[in-house]
């Protein structure tokens, strides 16, 4: 247990990686959005303003998942840490970071609504489709999205660490074949209308549930892959 916490502390030695950079990305995209809204309002538009800028730091987590592994994993081997301990410490740390950020999203969303969309009627954090849900679903929704993206990066990186270039070629070839197969199936079967009416009816809670399940599967997959990876 003790060493798992030490892994988290090691990952935090450079605070920029897990805390600083996500906050800079979020702050930057928020300020840019405010500036754009202000310009739009000055031009006399009075329509509702929406922004997808809140997802900006989430994409960084994809890169973080890759980076936490490809660079820190070989170093953790030199620190005589088992793969299991490294995995648990890193995933636990990320989960805590994601949870804190998710709560922050929820709270600042409340502030956004209270200030009338930052005085400009804008929606950056409290997007209607998510903000309509109760607090738990909102927080979990953000949390699952963040963990999901981190896990995508993490899983791809573990496959690389274990099977190197061969692993990447096989993985992306298979992925391409599967995606192409599904598209072909839908196209020949004329399922596209059905698909879109099904996909557009997803709720935030539904995405949270299924996304969480996929994230769990990927977490298990990356753990099993990492168990025999080499630096």
């Amino acid at each position: 247990m003790n060493r798992i916490i030490k892994v988290a502390r090691m990952q935090l030695i450079n605070k920029a990686t897990f805390i600083g950079i996500p906050l800079i990305i979020l702050g930057g995209s928020f300020l840019f959005t405010l500036a754009i809204w202000w310009l739009v309002r000055r031009n006399g538009s009075d329509e509702g303003l929406y922004s997808g800028g809140a997802q900006a730091p989430m994409w960084y987590f994809l890169a973080l998942g890759i980076q936490a592994l490809t660079l820190t994993f070989p170093f953790s081997m030199a620190m005589s840490i088992s793969r299991r301990t490294f995995y648990l410490g890193t995933v636990a740390l990320f989960s805590v970071c994601a949870l804190v950020l998710s709560v922050f999203y929820y709270l600042i969303g409340l502030l956004e609504v209270a200030t009338g969309g930052w005085g400009m009627g804008g929606q950056f954090f409290a997007l209607q489709w998510i903000a309509d849900n109760n607090w738990l679903v909102q927080i979990l929704f953000y949390f699952v999205l963040m963990v999901l993206l981190f896990m995508v990066g993490f899983l791809i990186a573990t496959i690389y660490m274990r099977w190197r270039t061969t692993g990447m070629v096989v993985f992306f070839t298979l992925l391409g074949v599967v995606v192409l197969g599904i598209i072909a199936l839908f196209t020949f079967g004329n399922y596209w209308d059905q698909f879109w009416s099904w996909a557009l009816n997803w709720t935030a809670a539904g995405i949270t549930l299924w996304g969480g399940l996929v994230a769990l599967l990927m977490a298990g997959g990356s753990y099993l892959t990492l168990r025999k990876a080499t630096a």
Partner: protein, 305 residues
């Protein structure tokens, strides 16, 4: 009661695609000694150390550290320190951050020693590791290895890029610290003459096989070079095992595996033959060469460079 062995392997084998990196390696290393793991580039030194430290795993055979398999076993791993020659560090890490991290995980970490070595190697600790020169990068690994004071410490070609002064500092400090805090040290190297004086026990690996596993003192006496008139040399060495032969006209210089007693030495003198000791480096080079008969010629020229 016999002392527990520090490292024990039994019939360890590892194959990468078509290369046999380790071939039936069985070893026993006692605690609190300095071992030299010698061999050419690609002989299997790093592979062996990776398996012993749980960073890699064998296809066959077993490896035990203090009686326990190291792979994924934290209590065993925490007693080991192994910084690779090509060690990767987190991209944004500065030198002092790597030390801070090592201090977290190595219980016996000695910060004072680390700072002392930083000064001795003139290492800029506020610099990013990826901006360091090859020598400075080696120094980071050396400092982590020394200051960790782990029960078993592996040094993987620790001198790469270090200048002669820095290398001497490393050797001196290692001996000094070892005297005060005895532990098992495995030093992998192909600069054999430079480390020869440090080593108490020598293990030579070639093409994944152990070709020498012997006490350093003992090893030095196991071979001798006989120089003189070809016919007389031939007569003198008799059926002794020849490690190497050089000939120039009627003169021959033959290295044989033999322990000569004083009577034999006297006899050689009477026959007008010169006897000279064989350095550890020569012995290792010859042993490595004699195990590769087909490509021996090419490699001999390479070994001389």
């Amino acid at each position: 009661m016999p002392r527990t062995t520090a490292i024990a392997t039994r019939e360890l084998s590892k194959t990468y695609k078509d290369v046999r990196a380790l071939d039936n390696v069985s070893l026993e290393l006692e605690p609190d000694r300095i071992y030299g793991l010698l061999g050419r580039n690609g002989a299997g030194k790093t592979t062996l150390m990776s398996i012993l430290t749980g960073q890699n795993y064998a296809d066959q055979g077993t490896a035990e550290i203090f009686g326990h398999a190291p792979f994924e076993h934290d209590p065993t791993l925490s007693r080991i320190c192994f910084i690779r020659e090509s060690q990767k560090y987190p991209d944004d890490f500065k030198v002092h951050q790597a030390f801070k991290s090592a201090a977290l995980f190595f219980e016996n970490w000695d910060e004072e020693l680390a700072q002392d070595l930083v000064e001795a190697f003139a290492l800029p600790t506020r610099r990013r590791i990826k901006k360091l020169s090859r020598g400075q990068l080696s120094a980071v690994g050396v400092i982590i290895g020394m200051a960790s004071r782990a029960d078993i410490t592996f040094f993987d070609e620790p001198y790469l890029g270090l200048d002669a002064v820095a290398r001497q500092i490393f050797y001196d400090r290692l001996v000094e610290d070892f005297a005060e805090y005895p532990r098992t040290i495995v030093l992998s190297s192909h600069l054999i003459d430079e480390v020869a004086n440090l080593l108490e026990h020598v293990i030579v690996i070639d093409k994944g096989r152990i070709v020498i596993d012997s006490d350093a003192e003992e090893l030095r006496g196991t071979a001798v070079t006989v120089t003189g008139e070809d016919a007389k040399v031939q007569e003198f060495i008799g059926s002794a095992q020849i490690i190497h032969r050089d000939a120039l006209g009627a003169l021959a210089s033959v290295t044989i595996k033999a322990k000569l007693d004083s009577e034999q030495r006297e006899q050689a003198k009477l026959m007008g033959l010169d006897l000279s000791p064989v350095s550890l480096q020569q012995l290792v080079v010859r042993s490595a060469l004699s195990s590769t008969t087909e490509t021996g010629i090419d490699e001999r020229t390479e070994a001389r460079k």
